[in-house]
C-alpha cells in the first residue's frame, strides 16, 4: 500500500473511532445495545471476509463457529466463574482450533467441499448441543451475567476496532499475500511454493477465531445461550452481510453488519416472513448486479471522481 493510502486509511480509522466513541452520548441505551450487536456481526464478517474475500473459500457454518465461541464463554462463565472478558480470547482460540482441525479434511478438495461440510456443521450443531446438556444446559441453555448496555457497546466496539487492525495486519503479511495468490490462481501460487492445504486451512482457522470471538461477545451481550441462539439462518445471513458489504473489503463489513442487525426489524412491518425473502433477494441481486458490494460501489465512485478530476487538470 502506498504511504498516502496508508495515511488516509489511518485517518479514516481514527475518525471512525472518534465517532463510535462519542455516539453513546447521543443515542438511547436501547440503541446502544443494538449498535453493539452491529459491532459483533462486524467482527464475524471480518473473519468471514479473510476466508471468502481473500482466500476464495466460503463457509456456510460460521454461525456454528460463533456458537462454539459462545458456548465456550458461557460454560467458563456459568460453570467455572471466569470473568466474562477473559473468556473472549479463549473462545476465539477454541473456535479457531476447531476450525483448523475441521479445515484439514474439508480443504483437501476444492472450496466447494468446505461450503458443503460447513453447511453440515451448521445443521448438525444444535442436536450436538442438546446431546451434551450436562455442559450446555440443553434446550434450557445457560444464563450469564447482566451488563449495562453502554459497557457492552464499548466492549464490542473496542474489540471490533482491534479485530479490524488484526485483520489488516494479517493480510499485510506474507500469509495474506499467499491467501490472495491462492484465490487468484492456485496453479501460479503453487509454482511459487505456496502450499494450498496449509494456507487454506490457516485461513479457515483464522476466520473461525474471529467467529469465536464474535460468538463469545454475542453470548455475553445476550446474557443467555441456548441452541436457538445460533440458528442456521445466522450462518446464511452472515454470507448475505458479507456480499452486501463487499468481498475483499474489511471495513465494508460494517455495512453488512448494519443490514443483518436492522433489516429484520424494518422488514417485519411488511410481514413476519418478509425479512427472509428480502435477504435472499438482496443476496441474489447483489451477486448478479453488484459483485463488489457496498465497498465496490464506493470504489467505482472513487475511480470516477479520480478520472473526473484528472480530466479537469
Amino acid at each position: 500500500m502506498s504511504r498516502v493510502g496508508l495515511a488516509l486509511r489511518a485517518a479514516a480509522f481514527v475518525a471512525a473511532a472518534v465517532v463510535v466513541a462519542l455516539a453513546p452520548r447521543f443515542i438511547s441505551s436501547y440503541h446502544a445495545l443494538e449498535w453493539s450487536q452491529v459491532a459483533i456481526y462486524f467482527v464475524a464478517l471480518i473473519g468471514l471476509n479473510v476466508l471468502t474475500g481473500y482466500s476464495g473459500q466460503v463457509s456456510l457454518g460460521h454461525g456454528a463457529f460463533m456458537a462454539i465461541g459462545g458456548y465456550t464463554s458461557a460454560i467458563l462463565i456459568a460453570h467455572h466463574h471466569v470473568h466474562d472478558v477473559w473468556t473472549i480470547p479463549l473462545a476465539g482460540l477454541v473456535a479457531g482450533g476447531v476450525g483448523l482441525a475441521f479445515g484439514l479434511p474439508a480443504l483437501r478438495l476444492t472450496g466447494l467441499y468446505l461450503a458443503l461440510a460447513t453447511f453440515a456443521v451448521a445443521v448438525a450443531f444444535p442436536p450436538l448441543v442438546r446431546k451434551f446438556d450436562h455442559f450446555t444446559g440443553g434446550n434450557q441453555g445457560l444464563i450469564l451475567n447482566l451488563h449495562t448496555n453502554d459497557w457492552l457497546y464499548y466492549l464490542s466496539w473496542s474489540i471490533a476496532g482491534g479485530a479490524l487492525l488484526v485483520g489488516w495486519l494479517v493480510l499485510a503479511t506474507p500469509i495474506g499475500r499467499s491467501f490472495r495468490a491462492l484465490r487468484d490462481s492456485e496453479v501460479a501460487a503453487v509454482s511459487f511454493g505456496v502450499s494450498p492445504a496449509l494456507y487454506k486451512t490457516l485461513a479457515f482457522g483464522i476466520s473461525s477465531f474471529f467467529a469465536g470471538v464474535a460468538g463469545s461477545l454475542f453470548a455475553i451481550s445476550s446474557a443467555y445461550v441456548n441452541p436457538e441462539t445460533f440458528p442456521i439462518t445466522l450462518s446464511l445471513f452472515l454470507v448475505v452481510g458479507l456480499a452486501v458489504g463487499g468481498l475483499g473489503s474489511l471495513p465494508g463489513g460494517v455495512v453488512g453488519a448494519i443490514l443483518i442487525q436492522f433489516l429484520p426489524t424494518y422488514a417485519q412491518h411488511v410481514s413476519k416472513q418478509a425479512p427472509q425473502v428480502i435477504e435472499g433477494a438482496i443476496l441474489v441481486g447483489v451477486m448478479l448486479l453488484l459483485p463488489g458490494g457496498a465497498a465496490g460501489l464506493l470504489r467505482i465512485a472513487a475511480n470516477r471522481s479520480v478520472v473526473h478530476s484528472s480530466q479537469q487538470s
Binding site: L112, A115, P127, A274, V277, P291
Partner: protein
Amino acid sequence: MANFWQQVVSGLATGGIYASLALALVIVYRSTGVINFAQGEMATFATFLAWTFVDHGISFWPAFALTLAAAFAGGVALERVVIRPVQGRSVLTAVIVTIGLLILINGATQWIWGGAVRKFPSPFSTRPIHVGSAAFSIQDIGIVGVSVAAVALLTVLFRFTKVGLGLRAAAVNPDESRLVGVPVGWMLALGWGLASALGAVSGMMVAPIVFLDPNMMQGVLLYAFAAAVLGGLSSPVGAVVGGLSLGVFLNLLGTYWSTFSGDMRLVGGLAVILVVLLVRPAGLFGRPAVRRV
C-alpha cells in the same frame, strides 16, 4: 434378526429419498460445476405445491404429476434467470447465488403457506406385510419403488435418448458440443429442470414420514450431501448407491447405538462427510480430480 431386516428395508426407504436428492445435486454439479444449496428448499416448495393440489381435491397421483411438471418448469426458469448470468464467473459467485435462493425460497414458502406443520397424504398404506417373523410396511416398499423408478427413468433418458446424449456432451465438453450443434445453454437449463423434478420426488416421499414443514428438507439436504460425497460428487451411480447405503447405515446405527438416534443422526451424516473426505476424498465411484495445468 427380524428386526434387523425391518430396519434394513426402512433404511432403504429413507435411503431412496436421500438418493433422489443426491442425484439431483449430482446432475446440477456435473452440468454446471455448482453445488445447488437451494435444491432442498426447491423440493420443499414443490411439496407444498403438491399439498395445495391435493387440498383442492385432486387425488394423489395426478397431483404428483402436476407437481413434477411445475418443479421442472421452475428449475428451468431459475437456471435461465439467475444462474445463467453468473455462469462463467467464479464458482464462489454461483454458490453464493444458490445460498441466496435457499434463503429466498425458504422465506417464500413460509410467507405463502405459514410455518405450521401439516400432514401430507401418503399414497401408500402403512399396513405391514409379514414375511416370516419380519414386518415390512407397504409405505417403505412403495417409497423404494418410486425412488428406483425415478432413477431408472432418468438413466434411460441419459443413456438411450438423443437429448440424454446432448446432456452428457454439454456436461463433459461444452465448447466442442456447441461446435457440433448441441444447444448447450438449453441443456444446462434442462439439467436444472430434471434435478428440480427429482428433488420434488424426494420431497413428496419424505413429507408423509416427517410431516410437511418449511424446514423439512434441511436435514435431508445434509444427508443428500453425505450421500453424494460418499458416492463421489460427480457420479450418478455413486449418488444412488451412496444414498441407499447411507440410509441403511444410519438406520442401523441409530437402532443399535442409541446415541445416534433421532436428531443425532444428523451428526452421523456430518461424520460420514468428514470421514469420506479424510479417507477417500473422491468418494466410492468418483475419479480423483486430475487437472491439466
